[in-house]
Symmetry: C2
Subunit: 273 residues, 2 copies
DNA sequence: GAGTGGATTTCGCAT
DNA sequence: ATGCGAAGTCCACTC
């Protein structure tokens, strides 16, 4: 191994733990502590966690995670950013404890962790420049529809996207082959009642605004049964759109091409009113 | 230390890592791996994470966390539950890699982690029976209002809570001192436009359903300016309620008392229609 | 700094 | 299994 800073201690004492954690925070290393602890949180809410064996991680940006042996979510935490740490040893009766206090302002909140037994401390200066890319988001679906409008239907022409129209933002706004105004609401997962109501609001708002008929299309991989009923009763359309295919379309094109498209299409935008 | 299962290895080889991780998963221990890795995720979406040094945790319930050196959230993960692991060593060129595959159905998704270097493996059978209690949640606010309705206003009498009324669930439903029907929407933080619209929907739905006037009250510590304007224009009321005070009220009472209250109040419930 | 909407949200609860 | 809303949500983005 060739790491600038790497420490691992099995069953360290409280004093030794204090020293290593302080040093590791100074060095901006990621710290892992496994041991028996209890936790108090005060801030937006207030919580108390009774003693038990947990894994805690302190990251170089101050992020704090307290993980129980089960579950994806930390039981207590502090998001990264402007976090201050106070580490000290205290005596409870004649028993030494390690107290880790994590403090942030904005909002003001603190997490206090009391360890009476530590199984492991390990700290590393981690180097991670790796890029992370996520595909098949709602954004991809929108891009794919704008780049390839026939996904929605033949002859559909997008005019605007992310257009503010008082109740909120319309995902895509355009005209169909017969020249009718079309409003599209995109959902990357099963669309529920909420999505239909949102679409209906936009349709109504634009109808009022432009004074003629407006078609509403819900573009999603699926709709819930309730949403489908609602769609039909409101005279809105559903178009099944596969997020993955959208993602493939978008990621098959170079980033430059897409940027260019959105640059040029901006000049073609029609005012909504 | 007195743990039934605890292993820590500094800079283990790929083969040794494989063996230890398999064994630790069998034993349902929590596993920590620190090393250089890259990650592919496929499922509801698709993602790729290029090589870098990270901390990964596999918990006894199968939950998987992949943490970069900064940030509160895992870059990739798998929630606990019905997760299957396949661990193997593979050759890339002449270089041995450790491949950890985490698979779940419902929804079908997989995370594949490739390690080419491992700095640390540590596994523990953790014992954690500690109780977790959270105060000042929306639930506390609801309980406090039901137990002590004068929080809302003098003479208010709750009748139901968490009542399904087509657009969703009404937080609290009751009557005021003049006998008018009251619907309460609770928010534990600054209430925005969204909260007001939600309340308005419930008021409208119930008005239609019972055919007489319905008051709507938004109970929250604060409202946004826009939300306040909207409230006024819709003829809805705002009542400032402090979540922490609510929590104090609730937690000052014994759990039994509260349970008894909710038991008895259920018998007093009036049908909503 | 506040407000708004999305998330591979997760989690829990009710249908 | 599905649907719906809350969360100490967090996060990114706008005003």
């Amino acid at each position: 191994m060739n790491k600038s800073y790497a420490i691992t201690l099995d069953n360290p004492g409280i004093e030794e733990s204090l020293r290593i954690i302080k040093k590791s925070i100074e060095r901006k290393a990621a710290i892992i502590v496994v041991g028996n602890c209890w936790v108090k949180y005060r801030g937006r809410a207030k919580s108390r966690l009774e003693p038990g064996e947990r894994i805690i991680i302190i990251k170089e940006d101050g992020a704090l995670l307290i993980h129980r042996p089960v579950g994806y979510e930390p039981v207590n935490w502090m998001p990264g950013g402007e976090i201050i740490y106070h580490i000290e040893t205290i005596e409870e009766g004649s028993r030494p404890l390690l107290l880790i206090r994590s403090i942030r302002r904005h909002p003001r909140e603190t997490v206090a962790i009391y360890f009476d037994q530590i199984f492991l401390i390990s700290a590393f200066k981690l180097v991670d420049e790796g890029e992370f890319s996520l595909y098949a988001s709602e954004e991809d679906m929108q891009k794919a529809i704008l780049l390839n409008p026939s996904i929605i239907e033949d002859g559909f022409k997008p005019i605007e996207y992310e257009k503010k129209v008082e109740p909120g933002f319309v995902d895509v706004y355009g005209v169909d082959k017969r020249g009718r105004v079309v409003v599209i609401e995109i959902k990357r997962r099963t669309a529920g009642r909420e999505a239909v109501l949102q679409l209906a609001k936009y349709v109504k708002a634009i109808k009022t605004s432009i004074g003629r008929e407006v078609r509403g299309i819900l573009a999603a991989p699926q709709v819930s049964k309730e949403a489908l009923t609602l769609l039909e009763s409101l005279g809105l359309d559903f178009k099944k759109v596969d997020p993955k295919k959208c993602s493939e379309i978008v990621h098959a094109m170079s980033e430059k091409k897409i940027t260019d498209y959105f640059q040029s299409s901006k000049q073609k935008l029609l005012p909504l009113k």
